[in-house]
């Protein structure tokens, strides 16, 4: 029992654990739409697009999370705009913006002479450095994302499953598509603290994909994915504590382990499932 309680004696670990559980849940819930709508590349691109925002915020002496937030929302809206009329395919638009934003971020960071902005913390997260302000920010933004996803469950369901029905109902499909991008941007920003921009895509996709293999209803898929995201975060953090490995990587590896188990043994769909 002490094995589980010992690490919790430290406040920074308590905060890191709380933040990573929240991030695990939010990523998994919105990740269900990412998986079903085939937006994995979008999630990854949004994550990398944050980099210039962080760099500019640092140069201006502003809050890094706010910088990330502004950058992510701008890129989400730009991708929405570029693909609006179908002039450019969505993956092309994402590819262009993603590379451009990443380059801008690297250029800005390389211009900062001091090494105060630790690139590895941005790339791979820094769970143990979560301040209480950061935790509040994660909790509040997470609640906002969750409330919108749950409150507007029906329009998001219709727009994702049957855009034609959304059109016959005169529901604004385009508005919900862009709203989902903005929510995705917020999610990516809060994930910055725990798994970093390099691994956000995994937290968005992996628990949701695991849940997809195990359930056949969207609401169940979201609930199960949230549970998997939270448990992966907890187990990953303990492994990270005892094995002294990077926490973001440990969390993602645990989530991947669950996915492989489901892929091999899921009832009805697993590789080794025998009827």
């Amino acid at each position: 029992m002490n094995l589980l309680l010992d690490p919790l004696a430290y406040v920074f670990i308590q905060r890191g654990l709380a933040a990573s559980v929240i991030v695990g849940i939010i990523c998994a819930v919105i990740g269900s739409y990412v998986v079903l709508r085939g937006m994995a590349f979008m999630g990854d691109a949004l994550a990398h697009a944050i980099l210039p925002g962080v760099a500019i915020a640092y140069l201006m002496g502003a809050n890094l999370t706010v910088g990330a937030l502004v950058a992510a929302v701008i890129v989400a809206l730009l991708i929405g705009l570029f693909t609006r009329q179908g002039t450019i395919r969505e993956d092309t638009a994402i590819g262009i913006l993603f590379a451009a934003a990443l380059s801008l971020g690297v250029a800005l960071i390389s211009s900062i002479r001091t090494s105060a902005v630790d690139l590895t913390h941005i790339l791979f997260g820094n769970i143990l450095g979560v301040s209480s302000t950061d935790l509040w920010m994660v909790a509040i933004l997470g609640l906002v994302v969750l409330a919108v996803i749950i409150g507007l469950y029906r329009p998001f369901l219709v727009v994702s499953f049957d855009p034609t029905l959304a059109a016959t109902l005169r529901w604004p499909g385009e508005f919900f598509r862009i709203l989902l991008l903005v929510l995705l941007a917020l999610t990516v920003v809060i994930s910055l603290q725990t798994v970093g921009i390099g691994l956000v895509a995994a937290m968005l996709v992996t628990p949701a994909a695991t849940a997809y293999l195990l359930t056949r209803r969207l609401a169940h898929m979201m609930t199960l994915a949230a549970g998997l995201g939270a448990i992966s975060s907890i187990i990953g953090l303990y492994i990270s504590y005892y094995a002294s490995i990077a926490s973001g990587a440990a969390i993602v590896l645990v989530a991947t382990g669950f996915f492989l188990l489901a892929f091999l043994f899921a009832p009805g769909r697993g590789l080794f499932w025998k009827r």
């Binding site: 179908g86 507007l152 369901l157 499953f161 049957d162 109902l169 209803r217 969207l218």
Partner: protein
Amino acid sequence: MTPIELTQPPARLELDKISVGYNGNLALRDLSVQIPHGGQVAVVGPNGAGKSTLFKALVGLLPLRSGRIFIHGEPLGHHNDCVAYVPQREDVDWRFPVSVAEVVMMGRFARLGWVRRPERQDHAAVIQSLEQMNIAGLANRPIGDLSGGQQQRVFLARALAQEPHILLMDEPFTGVDAGTQEATLSLLDRLKKDGVTVMVSTHDLNMAARRFETVLLLNRELVAYGPAETAFSPESIQRAFGGQVLFLNGVAAIVDDCCPGGEEHTHHRETP
């Protein structure tokens, strides 16, 4: 099914010189058609004739380049709950995690809006629609587990639950078993009694001629509109299907490539 309350004047559908297109190409040019209240029209034409385009314009999914659409004499978009659309089966993501009953409940969303919980009457309408399409036993099954015919019935049940004034069906006779074809046709008979205006796209000339009082022959523009006997003249069929039509001893044989699987099918029909 309970008769639809016609709080509106008769559901007359009127297309006034509409043109619709994607990215600079016009898929449909200058189409003018009037469909009376309760009319049933088969929309016939080769692959790429603009059948799906027409339906998408009617539900507001594609904007009109020019022209106007009137429903009940009011411009399109004025009513938001009276047009139901049964999509082609290939247009649906069957791996999406939803159950049969959830899909049919979507037919009630026009009344329920974004957040309101379904009431007893909504659940009753869903159950009744499932029973009418003979799939009540499948209510809790994921849609991905169903056969092609059963999938088609799910979307027909959803359209029924919508209690539409105008129903659009995109290729409902393609790739389904004979039982589902019959179920679809008997549904059409019942809708006729309820006064629902129906447009069905098909490339099956026989089906169109036998089961529909009016046919609309389309090839990017209006070719012919009227009873099958007059609309399906050899000249009109030639104009609509072009090089795909062969005349052998007064029998028109159409070779088209719009069926799934890429096999060539021939549809024979005696020309008058």
